[in-house]
């Protein structure tokens, strides 16, 4: 079983829709959960950072972590064409240095 799994997409939704991006992981030691956004041929840009289970909201973005089912979600409200990018699920252990990235989900917002 892969450590971090994401549906690669592409996921195409109309502008203004709510987007749901999901990720599963296998390592129960993961404690920190990040979502990064990556535009083509650019570096990952940190979007959301949560610790352990629960929800976190930041503007149009909401991150949810369910450690019991090892399931992570990112919701984007009022999606914009500028949200078109690859979204990387990125968990990390409590004392680990490294981030384990998923392959990412390509999102395309249709104007």
């Amino acid at each position: 079983q892969k450590e971090v799994e994401q549906d690669p997409g592409p996921l195409s939704v109309p502008e203004g829709a709510i987007v749901s991006l999901n990720c599963t992981y296998s390592n129960s030691a993961f404690q920190y959960f990040m979502w990064y956004r990556q535009y083509s041929r650019k570096g990952p840009e940190l979007l959301m950072y949560t610790y352990s289970s629960g929800n976190k909201e930041d503007g149009r973005f909401t991150a949810q972590v369910d450690k019991s089912s090892k399931y992570i979600s990112l919701f984007i409200r009022d999606s914009q064409p500028s949200d078109s990018a690859t979204y990387l699920c990125a968990p990390r252990g409590n004392r680990d240095d490294k981030i384990i990235f998923g392959k990412g989900t390509r999102l395309h917002i249709l104007p």
């Binding site: 920190y32 990040m34 990064y36 990556q38 041929r41 650019k42 570096g43 990952p44 840009e45 940190l46 950072y49 990387l88 409590n94 004392r95 680990d96 240095d97 490294k98 981030i99 384990i100 990235f101 998923g102 392959k103 990412g104």
Partner: protein, 112 residues
């Protein structure tokens, strides 16, 4: 807003040559990292660096790779004898502690 910078943005080299990729982390950060991304694949961890020494490295980071913080601002990745399969985007990242890691724009390395 402070950011991680990397130079060069694109490096082309011949197989067997040495390359040095350079990074300037965010100034008050203490932890430094290198990751790479082969075209079409996921971002992979290479190495982390703290207090002037390597704190963790992956299987990819073999004897051909080395890292250095030569002064108070730069962080470098050296590949001694490049191979074709080293062609990738190399990302530098930094963090204050065991929290968010901020990534640079990357250096695209092409080995011919």
């Amino acid at each position: 807003e402070p950011e991680v910078t990397q130079t060069p943005s694109h490096q082309v080299t011949q197989m067997g040559q040495e390359v040095i990729l350079r990074c300037v982390p965010i100034s008050n950060h203490l932890y430094f990292y290198w990751y790479r991304q082969i075209l079409g694949q996921k971002v992979e961890f290479l190495v982390s660096f703290y207090n002037n020494e390597i704190s963790e490295k992956s299987e990819i980071f073999d004897d051909q790779f080395s890292v250095e913080r030569p002064d108070g601002s730069n962080f470098t990745l050296k590949i001694r004898s490049t191979k074709l399969e080293d062609s990738a985007m190399y990302f530098c990242a930094s963090s204050q502690g065991y929290n968010e890691q901020f990534f640079g724009p990357g250096t695209r390395l092409t080995v011919l």
